[in-house]
């Protein structure tokens, strides 16, 4: 709790609450980053699930790199947004679910990428892929609902 209060009263917290354009600009970056991360996750998993089969999954590697750029944008913008009211967010159910979904979704993405390179059965890969999409959508939905719950 002490750390959360320190964060809230720190320079980033003050900036994001009081600067006129700070919040909308960081929030917009978070939306763009989301479009990139989620876009890559969706496009890639659609392929793993069997859509557009004529594309080699390995050819998505470069796209995956772009997904990482989106993720870093959102990690940074997300940390700044968190400083707005960390003492509230930290205990908010939708926020906890969001972070949990991102962690599990990230691990599943790694599992899917390893499976398509290895000799994991196609069924198992597809199950992991579907679960991965579900986790990332859960992250997005709970993130959106943070404004309401």
């Amino acid at each position: 709790m002490g750390f959360l209060i320190w964060l809230e009263e720190g320079a980033l917290g003050i900036f994001i609450r009081e600067s006129l354009w700070g919040y909308p600009i960081v929030l917009s970056s978070h939306a763009v980053g989301m479009a990139i991360v989620m876009g890559v996750v969706v496009a890639l998993n659609l392929r793993v699930l069997g859509y557009a089969k004529d594309i080699s999954i390995l050819a998505y590697d470069k796209l995956f790199f772009i997904g990482w750029i989106g993720f870093i944008i959102n990690l940074i913008s997300g940390l700044i947004l968190f400083c707005n009211t960390p003492t509230t967010y930290f205990f908010q159910g939708s926020f906890q679910l969001k972070i949990g979904s991102i962690v599990v979704g990230g691990i599943l993405m790694k599992v899917v990428m390893n499976s398509v390179r290895g000799d994991t059965s196609e069924t198992l890969t597809k199950v992991a892929s579907a679960a991965c999409i579900a986790c990332w959508f859960s992250a997005m939905i709970t993130g959106r609902l943070m404004a309401y719950l």
Binding site: V41, S56, A59, M140, R144
Partner: protein, 165 residues
């Protein structure tokens, strides 16, 4: 925009059944927002595959197969057009004079023209590309424009609540 110009149209949108539901059911707005976000990810993800391939980042993505993401993008756009109309019906007098909303709509029209240019001008030739082969420069310009315009659309959309006066 002048009030007298948009007021009749705004009144019409506001009086629709959808508008009433959006205002009366507390869960309608967040639900539509969530669907709007889901549509956004499918739309932007599809564009990333096609446009990045054309630009040359991920050149080994099979170009012809990448075009299969076009119907995904079109369906996602239809979803976002529908949910977008729902927002508009909820509170048209807020959206019409909003400068970020106006820019967003203008940019979507430009993105549409850009997409038509892609489809009628470049699509056929691009489908002939071998894996790893470089796309023509004009196609790369269209692809870069597409990404830039849609990023701007997302930014202006997100800015809508913050530029009200």
């Amino acid at each position: 925009m002048d009030y007298d110009t948009y007021a009749p149209l705004a009144s019409w949108f506001e009086a629709t059944w959808l508008g009433g539901q959006m205002r009366e059911q507390f869960w309608m707005f967040p639900m539509m927002e969530t669907i709007h976000f889901i549509g956004l990810t499918f739309l932007f993800g599809s564009l990333l595959v096609i446009d990045m391939r054309v630009i040359g980042f991920g050149r080994f993505i099979n170009m012809k197969a990448a075009m299969k993401y076009i119907p995904v993008a079109i369906i996602a756009f239809a979803v976002n057009l529908s949910t977008g109309i729902a927002f508009l019906c909820a509170d048209p007098f807020r959206y019409f004079p909003n400068i970020a909303f106006q820019w967003k709509m203008g940019l979507i029209v430009i993105a549409g023209i850009n997409a038509l240019w892609f489809w009628f001008g470049e699509h056929k030739e691009l489908c002939q590309l071998a894996d790893g082969e470089d796309a023509p420069f004009r196609a790369k310009v269209i692809a870069a424009l597409s990404i830039a315009i849609w990023v701007a659309v997302i930014i202006f959309g997100r800015m809508i609540p913050y530029v009200e006066y």
